[in-house]
Amino acid sequence: MRRVLVPVTLVTLFIVAIQLSVFSGLRFAGVVIMIVWLWPLAMGLAGLTTLALWCALVAGVFFDTHATTPFGLTAVVALLLAYGASRLGREGVGDLDSAAWWVTPLLAAAAGFVAPLIYVGASFFTFNFSLWRNSLFATMVVNAVAFFVLARPMARLARWLGNLGGSRR
């Protein structure tokens, strides 16, 4: 686990950089695709619970320091996605080899669809009641589609990194 922590952290920081430098400007229907949520999700689906939570925390916190939205919200959503996905991942659901090809993308799409909703729901805890007005449904749909497309390459990268450590979970 310790051996893989450094490469996983570095890859996570690269993912945040890609999010900030590429995906923030590359909007589809005015919507930003949140790969900082997809990455911990892919880690979770690979069954790497601890690493998934670590990725979620690092990606979320670093992303939040660049956004003007309440600090910690992206990290919380990422943690929830990572935790949920890792529960499935530990059961072998979403495994790239044993499950049908569409299972991982479909799970990711479902996560991409609900993640913005969780984000807005969590924002109520920070007394921020206006985030839902930001084209929420479009954000949900675009992220679901993007997560569906990007899920398998991300899951492969996650599994490859996990294998560097030699063990799952």
Binding site: A67, T68, F71, T74, L80, Y83, A122, F125
Partner: protein
Amino acid sequence: MATDRSRRRSWTFGVAVVATLVILYLTTGVSSGLRGGANIVITPFSWAVNTIARPIGHMLAGTVNYSDVVAQNEKLRYQLGKAEERANEGWSYARQLRELTTELNVPFVGSLPTVAAQITTLSPTNFSATVGISKGRDAGVMVGMPVVANGGLVGRVIATTANGATVRLITDTASSVGVTFKSGKTTLIVSGRGLNNGLGATAVPLGTSIAPGTKLSTDGLNGALYPAGLPVASVKTIILTPGAATYNLTVQPTANLRHLSYLDVVIWEPAA
């Protein structure tokens, strides 16, 4: 037993998430410090990503959009000519307005100094409409200063560093601007509805005489966040609800917020 342990773990995780959220929210001072630290960590990674991604992006965009760029250039030249014409015509009106506003003791934006800045970053999230600009405290940019571009109000500075600042656009859901129109007797509050949704005004009294196309500008009332006379938006549609004592407006920002590259920070601070 295993189920109990699993349930306990889930509860602990849930409590930890909520506690993190609350603590991070309450300690906003910590978050601003973290912002600087995180920037230092992310910068080399962003540099690496930009070095690889930017030339590829430019090459693709150049290949696909070359004819569009040429057409846009011609259009811009034409618009620039028209704008120069209007500026010449408007000179005498501007002088009259300056005299009148001086008499009324409200600041006139034409007389206020500005700092030109380039947009360096777009909001990284779907849930805020902000941009990062290339000028900060060192250039005299302070929190609260209004920002204009493309012929209208764009937003307001909400954070600064030595060499940069963050501008909250008027379309952000946390943004609201006091505006007036025509004679200046009626004031309205125009609020942001998100980056893709423009602006809106609610609870406009039925007696208010307003029509689609009416230009709205900042009211500059005592304690206002903006000086008077900055063009903000024009009325797009009027939404009447049968039986209601008020109506709502959808409003189109005067400045084209989708194509911002450069903007001017007005060196003006709201009264304390």
